[in-house]
Amino acid sequence: MADGQALLRMEGISKRYGGVHALEDAHLDVHAGRVHAILGENGAGKSTLIKVMSGVVAPDQGRMYLDGREVSFANPAAANRAGIVCIFQELSLIPDLSVADNIIASNPPTRFGLIDRRAQRRLAEEALVKAGGEDIHPRARVGDLPLSRQQIVEIAKALARKPRLLILDEATSALTAADVTRVMAVLKRLRSDGMALLYISHRMHEIAELADECTVFRNGRNVESYEQGAKTDNEVVEMMIGREYRHAFPPKPPRPAEETPPALAVRNLSWTDKLSDISLEVRPGEVVGLGGLDGQGQRDLLLALFGVLRGVTGEIAIDGRPMAIDSPRQAKSADVGMALIPEDRKTEGLMLPMSVLHNLSFAALGRHARFGIIDRQAEATSVDEMIRLLAIRSNGTSIPVSALSGGNQQKVVIAKWLMLSPRIILLNDPTRGIDVGTKQEIYQLLRKLSGEGAAIILYSTDYDELIGCCDRVLVMYDGTIKTELAGDEITEHALISSALNIAPQAGAATGEAGHAPVSAASGSVA
């Protein structure tokens, strides 16, 4: 442990939501010049802890000391003034304001009482440079930027406040490997400048690379704090999930025979300038990955298949029958049997204020209804079944789904589609922000589904996931499929080089691509 007085100390913090103890007697010491990682499975209370710290949530009990003096923050602004700045799990950017306005949100430079936009812009540009976002125009509207760029803006915004303690709650979850490397470098520099950093992530290799000290949470309580490196990854994971932990990825069964007719066949699919001439086939029982750098059209491809996009050309055949899918409604119909686990669960996957029950049953409501009248018994039964199957942690099914932790919310999104027993499942980065235990469950679930004959397309920003889960990987670049990797060809090296659209033998590309080196131990975990 670091010596000297803690910059921030929390003692006996408790917070309850209804019957749930989000935090119980939690404590934490954060020191200047160190990166403190917080680990824990979904719903362990990590986000709640840092919300308390940054004035978003008032704790029921407990004390906080800054530089040894007791403090409490009435709101985020007060915490900011004290030098505690948080990058929240849910982005806190204002979509309709410009990048510069967002970065200098809280106290912009003024002249004669009005915002000095020239000075503000200079400050914003500096912050962007620090956060590795030189390519982002300070005048662009934030809502127009892709998610990964928004994350960078978020980081720049935090840096512009000159924090003493910077908290990152899964701030890297939407970033591509290249961005992560850049952010890591920034964070290391900040640490050496004497800043205290609190880092929450479910990506073990990032923690291994960055953290000085780790604290594990489970069920709202501290499990243990230790110097980074003092525990093996397996020990850590077992602390987190409170049970023994073996393999992340289930074994791959033999691939279905080439001659098995494809469940989904796509010919020459194109859409605006984002997708061009895509052809692919997925057989029942097969898990096909989509790889490549973020933003190469993978998401658009999934949306195109699911009937969300207008003006898609090309042919789509389901079980050999050509189909024109022009709405999600048609995509999920019995003829097609498709499901899409969307990217952003808050706006695309869930009706947050509605109950867990109603969220879970919504997509498959037709199954439990006759002539539009819901059979509530049947509905409740299959919902309970799903909750068991995916081990969703929820305090009853009538609480709003917004009260679940991020990971459990994600499980609800997946579960609501599984209730339809789809034959073709499209997944758009389904494990973002999900703890290792849950990830493992999801991987197993995917295998089980494909074993039962589902055809699966999985887009992931995590290469390990593609390697561990997929029978084949289609690597996309600039809206087309550039490379197809199958079986043993799916290696990190191959994925990266084809993602960059360079010849595989250019081995040096690994470094340039900036994918974080995977430590021997974490390879088996995340």
Binding site: L357, F362, L365, I373, S398
Partner: protein, 326 residues
């Protein structure tokens, strides 16, 4: 909330919180009556109460449509003239012999439905904000009715069927209007809680994009929602015409803000996605009673307006508050 009863383990607290508006508005209703009875005992007489329920049922029918729209996160400002359209068209149909007489009610309701559907297309498919689409629809409906009355001098006497519906008594001393409202209310409760359509209404109100990606025909449903709201407004107009014996141009003016107020006082979130029909019932009775008592007590118009406003604010402060950001 009602639709949660499928899960017995639902915490009591949540139920209480969701039902608070209903409890308080019913309490306010009783309070109002008691206060009124200080002025005149007749406020507690069955005659007066039945009379209030009868008048409330017109607003009740209209507020049902408004609630549906508000649950979807939209708003319908076309109520006044769709109501009038329903009344005038039904009365006009009456002039066409026995067939017209027979079809009067359905025809009036259909006109409201059709115009509501047009608004629905604007909102759901053209994605123009409901506030402005229905505003324009209100002006158009007014224009149509003015041109129609001026140009065709239609019959505006309510058919005997309309009169029976609004003022007759099928069962003892219970006016049919109340039965009609009970019928529509029961149907609304059933549709909202037990059908896929109702579930989709809540889903759309909460997060339309998620409902869309879940494969709900959100646009079609929303369009129909406006159609239904239009139909109910027109039906309210038909009943009102039956009550008054005739249709008149200005009959809808007094129903727009009260219908919104009734729905909101009943605890339905104006942002959509949350609300319970029982609350709307309470809200409708409350608004009607308040207007009536203030009117009979001969409070000057300015005083009535002020009291009306104060009561709404006070009630909302009692239970309509949103959770604080932290």
């Amino acid at each position: 909330m009602k639709q949660d009863t499928a899960t017995p383990q639902a915490p009591m607290l949540l139920h209480l919180r969701a039902n608070l508006p209903i409890v308080i508005s019913f309490a306010c209703i009783i309070l109002l009556l008691l206060l009124g009875s200080l002025y005149s005992e007749n406020f507690l007489s069955p005659d007066y109460l039945i009379q209030q329920l009868k008048v409330a049922s017109f607003l009740g029918v209209i507020a049902t449509g408004m609630m549906l729209i508000i649950l979807m996160g939209q708003i319908d400002l076309s109520v006044p003239w769709l109501l009038t359209t329903g009344a005038m068209m039904a009365s006009a149909a009456t002039a066409f012999g026995p067939a017209g007489e027979f079809l009067a009610v359905p025809f009036g309701v259909f006109c409201g439905f059709a115009m509501g559907m047009v608004s629905g297309v604007g909102v759901a498919y053209l994605r123009i904000p409901a506030m402005i689409v229905t505003l324009a629809m209100n002006v158009i409906a007014q224009g149509l009715m003015v041109a129609y009355t001026g140009g065709f001098s239609p019959s505006d006497t309510a058919s005997s069927g309309m009169r029976y519906l609004a003022t007759g008594n099928l069962i003892g001393g219970v006016p049919n209007a109340i039965l009609v409202w009970i019928g529509i209310g029961a149907l609304a409760v059933f549709v909202l809680n037990r059908t896929t359509f109702g579930r989709a209404v809540y889903a759309i109100g909460n997060r339309e994009s998620a409902a869309f990606l879940s494969g709900a025909a959100t646009q079609r449903l929303m369009m129909f929602g406006f159609g239904i709201s239009g139909a109910l407004a027109a039906f309210g107009g038909v009943l009102l015409a039956g009550y008054a014996g005739k249709a008149a141009q200005s009959m809808g003016d007094a129903y727009l803000l009260p219908s919104i107020a009734a729905v909101v006082l009943g605890g339905t979130s104006i942002l959509g996605g949350r609300g319970n029909y029982l609350g709307t019932v309470a809200g409708v009775i409350l608004v009607t009673l308040l207007q009536s008592i203030l009117s009979v007590m001969q409070i000057a118009e300015f005083g009535r307006q002020i009291i009306y406003g104060l009561v709404i604010v006070t009630m909302l402060l009692l239970y309509g508050r949103e959770r604080a950001l932290r």
